[in-house]
């Protein structure tokens, strides 16, 4: 069992935001209850149609993506997606994104009261924020002000996870600042800021960014002992997950791997259970 921000998780592996569809598509391949949790795509107050095509381009060991935070908006999410997710026997973490502090606060207020929401993940690291119009977190104090707004409006008992950019230079300072502002754990991290072949703002995900994410996780864990860190970035195997856990993460999130293999999360959970026997010395 894994303890994250006061929650007990069935496994130290969660579905990362934006890579599990509505949950139903993934559940076709295996029960979500086997996983540590399901993080929804980022939900905004109003519906967002998303960006123009092409939205995704393949790069070596990576995907560049500019989906533009497509989502149905809060009301349809509460009416049609959340009730189903809440019945799947997994921890439901709702990712939120807003264009202002007021929007973040309202999202927190409404979601915090909704049955079935285990935690809120605040998306502070959208790689294409200037294009998408969500609150552009450029400085750690921007992140802290969002987390404070969310924290203030959430009922007690609903923890806040702050999802940070894997910016090796700033990540420790960012983590410290959001934890001080009331975050219960940090998720390190999101897609790296990148560009589509035509120059549009985008994010880079996949195994290509794993070493960067691992470095960030290691630094945060080393500098902020006691902080709860969830690692994310290019994990595709149990060995990858073990690297993040060994660096000090309490759990990992899986994103791009699911786009390549919808059974990846369940497979890694199972592989992590297979304890490697200690070498015996005669």
């Amino acid at each position: 069992m894994t303890e994250l921000a006061g929650l007990t998780l069935a496994a130290p592996v969660l579905v990362a935001s934006g890579c599990g569809g509505t949950g139903r598509e993934l559940a076709a391949y295996g029960p979500l209850a086997d996983l540590g949790g399901f993080v929804t795509r980022s939900i905004t107050l109003n519906p967002r149609p998303g960006g123009p095509l092409p939205r995704i381009a393949e790069t070596p060991s990576g995907l560049v993506h500019a989906v533009g935070l497509q989502n149905p908006g809060l009301e349809p999410f509460l009416a049609t997606e959340l009730p189903w997710l809440a019945q799947q026997g997994t921890r439901v973490v709702v990712s939120i994104a807003g264009s202002s502090l007021g929007e973040y606060a309202e999202l927190a207020r409404r979601l915090g009261r909704s049955p079935g929401v285990s935690a809120i993940e605040v998306n502070l690291s959208s790689p294409d924020a200037p294009t998408t119009g969500v609150f552009d977190v450029r400085e750690p104090f921007h992140a802290a002000s969002v987390v404070a707004a969310v924290h203030r409006d959430l009922p007690r008992g609903v923890p806040v996870l702050a999802k940070l950019r894997t910016d090796v230079v700033r990540v420790v300072e960012s983590a410290r600042t959001v934890l001080d502002a009331g975050a219960d754990a940090v998720v390190v991290g999101n897609a790296l800021p990148a560009a589509m072949p035509d120059g549009r703002q985008a994010g880079l995900s996949g195994p290509a960014i794993l070493p960067v994410a691992l470095r960030c996780v290691a630094e945060v864990c080393a500098e902020l002992p006691g902080a709860q860190v969830v690692g994310a970035g290019g994990i595709t195997s149990a060995d990858d997950a073990r690297s993040f856990l060994a660096a000090g993460a309490v759990a990992v999130q899986l994103g791009t791997a699911l786009l390549h293999d919808p059974t990846a999360a369940a497979r890694i959970v199972a592989d992590l259970h297979d304890v490697v026997p200690e070498p015996t010395i005669d």
């Binding site: 890579c19 569809g21 076709a28 391949y29 095509l53 092409p54 939205r55 990576g62 195994p207 919808p262």
Partner: protein, 280 residues
């Protein structure tokens, strides 16, 4: 139109049994346990093409056939236009492949034995052959319109003659059949067949022309779209298609999960943007 509930997709390790070059295409035969069981014409499979290429490659299921000792095998038609598809066509028999399927919403079949026109352009004609068989089982007269840029890009025109009452072939260079495109021929073929339902698979301009012709003739159209799929399983939102819903409200759907077969009169063809085709 009826649609029986389909069984869910599976993600399995399959094995390539054979690769045969036919014209410009490669016909791949593979076994993937469980994928063939729920197959309906219009379904496709997603295949991983190496560890470092993260986007899946999606292919229409052309045929499901029994193979001694293996249960059912799948036949896919692959045009080696990109690095992933090229990699796939160069694999030796016996290669292991990660396969997900059957995926997507298949063609809806008519309840009554009505006349049907099937329009296939290039390798995308692949799903129409198993469809023709299902329609004939339902006593639907089948007319085929098969198109390609040239003879090498015509899919199984000979076989087409066996499964349809009438076959029209068009090629862009006139090397076989009539010279021209689907758009040039579809009105006339549709009128001659008196088709009440038109099924089409091919590039966006072809599908748009078919949908428009069907609408003009008062026929239903079922169009199988090829969009740039990344996950192919409904997760990534990379393949959205603008449609008008039953309620008259515009929205987007995912080609992989809500399609690939969509009603031609529901797709907002003018808003589809560039004809991006499949990721290869």
């Amino acid at each position: 139109m009826t649609q029986t509930p389909r069984r869910g997709p599976v993600h399995v390790t399959g094995e390539l049994l054979a690769t045969k070059k036919v014209g410009a295409y490669h016909h791949l035969t593979l076994v993937a346990p469980g994928v063939a069981d729920g197959f309906r014409p219009g379904n496709f499979v997603a295949i991983s093409v190496g560890e470092s290429r993260l986007a899946r490659r999606s292919f229409w299921i052309h045929r499901v056939k029994p193979v001694g000792g293996y249960g059912a095998a799948l036949e896919l038609v692959v045009e080696a236009t990109g690095p992933g598809a090229t990699w796939l066509t160069r694999l030796a028999p016996g290669a292991r492949l990660e396969v997900t399927g059957p995926l997507g919403r298949p063609f809806a079949l008519p309840k009554e034995p009505v006349s049907c026109l099937l329009v296939g352009d290039g390798y995308a004609a692949a799903p129409l052959f198993p469809l023709a068989e299902r329609l004939r089982e339902r006593d639907c007269p089948v007319t085929l319109l098969v198109a390609g840029s040239d003879e090498a890009h015509l899919l199984s025109a000979l076989e087409a003659r066996r499964s349809a009452r009438a076959v029209t072939v068009v090629t862009a260079d006139g090397s076989v059949g009539r010279k021209g495109t689907v758009a040039d021929a579809v009105d006339e073929v549709l009128a001659r067949a008196g088709a009440e339902v038109v099924y089409a698979a091919g590039p966006v301009p072809t599908l748009h022309a078919v949908a428009a012709a069907a609408e003009a003739h008062g026929a239903w159209s079922q169009t199988a779209l090829e969009r740039p799929l990344t996950c192919a399983t409904g997760l990534c939102q990379g393949c959205v298609v603008p449609v008008v819903g039953e309620d008259g409200v515009s929205r987007t759907v995912r080609a992989c999960h809500d399609g690939p077969v969509l009603r031609g009169d529901r797709v907002r063809w003018a808003d589809l943007g560039a004809d991006l085709g499949q990721v290869r």
